[in-house]
């Protein structure tokens, strides 16, 4: 697994308090990992800080799953 994926996973574990094993490529933050809408905003904020990138609101809306997040950050970083 890529370094980016590891760092994203660490943030998700910390923020949502979920087991690492549950975080699969297709795991939806809201449907599978128990995030509420505010959690998703916080996750995006945390990704922005960790990777030093800007994630605009319209892009943030497309980040639904762990895989989406890793792909967006990989493309942006």
């Amino acid at each position: 697994m890529s370094d980016i994926a590891d760092r994203v996973k660490k943030i998700v574990v910390e923020h949502l308090g979920v087991e690492e094993g549950k975080i699969t490529e297709s795991a939806s933050f809201i449907d599978d990992l128990g995030a509420d809408s505010l959690d998703t905003v916080e996750l995006v904020m945390a990704f922005e800080e960790e990777f030093g990138i800007e994630i605009p609101d319209d892009a943030a809306e497309t980040i639904q799953t762990f895989g989406d997040a890793v792909k967006f950050i990989t493309d942006a970083a």
Binding site: D36, L38, E42, M45
Partner: protein
């Protein structure tokens, strides 16, 4: 009773009577305060009176870029913003039929839109800290209306709706959002009233007197305190009984 040691508080409109009293009360409780306002001289005077833990952060809230910069400037000066008091307010009174677009827009911009932008600007830090206090200073006229103040009353009522909506969103993160609604308080804003107007107003105030800025500040101090952690989405009316709502 209320200890704000180690907390940082940004107060807008700190050059005015109520704002200065709020900043003073929070400072006395131990907070580091950021004093914002358009007029630098009174802010410098207040900072000098307070001594340590006081930062002057001039900002014209009708300037969108300046509003956007203020939360960052405040965090830069104080290390963060734990408490935001949206106190700044202007009046541009006119009868509704004569009210210009500019009179309407300028009051909405400063009294409502700036409060929204500043709240948005400080939320990130509060969310991360899992602690925050936002206190919006509204007005009794936001609830009762007032002839000649259609713009001001609309902005103040808007602050209440905004506070309650935001209170819902961030309550689970240890952040409370409340409003304080002063009645008639002895400040430069109410000095503009004629003696006849003052007498007419006081006739409707069961307490029989104007409020003191310190009495508004005491309400803000409570809502800013750790002890008020279970109080959110409320409007605390401080009006001598003028409107019991």
């Amino acid at each position: 009773m209320f200890d704000l040691t180690g907390k940082t508080a940004l107060v807008t409109g700190a050059s005015g009577g109520i704002g200065a009293a709020i900043a003073t009360a929070l400072h006395e409780a131990g907070a580091t305060v950021g004093l914002s306002g358009t007029r630098t001289a009174p802010l410098e005077d207040l900072a000098a009176r307070l001594g340590d833990r006081a930062h002057v952060l001039p900002c014209n809230l009708s300037d969108g870029d300046a509003v956007a910069a203020l939360p960052k400037d405040a965090a830069g000066a104080m290390g963060g913003v734990d408490i935001l008091v949206n106190n700044a307010g202007i009046t541009r009174d006119n009868l509704f039929m004569r009210m210009s677009d500019d009179e309407w827009a300028s009051v909405i911009d400063v009294n409502l839109t700036a409060a929204m932008k500043l709240s948005r600007g400080v939320l990130r830090g509060m969310m991360k800290a899992r602690w925050g206090r936002i206190v919006n200073i509204t007005s009794v006229v936001g609830a009762t209306g007032n002839p000649g103040q259609g713009n001001y009353a609309a902005a103040k009522a808007g602050l209440v709706g905004m506070s309650k909506s935001l209170a819902y969103e961030v309550a689970s993160r240890g952040i409370t959002v409340n409003a304080v609604a002063p009645g008639f308080v002895a400040t430069a804003m109410t000095d503009k009233l004629t003696d006849d107007q003052k007498a007419a107003i006081l006739g409707n105030v069961p307490a029989g007197r104007m409020g003191d800025p310190a009495e508004i500040a005491a309400a803000v101090l409570y809502l800013s305190s750790p002890e008020a952690g279970y109080t959110t989405g409320t409007v605390l009316h401080v009006n001598g009984g003028l409107a019991m709502i």
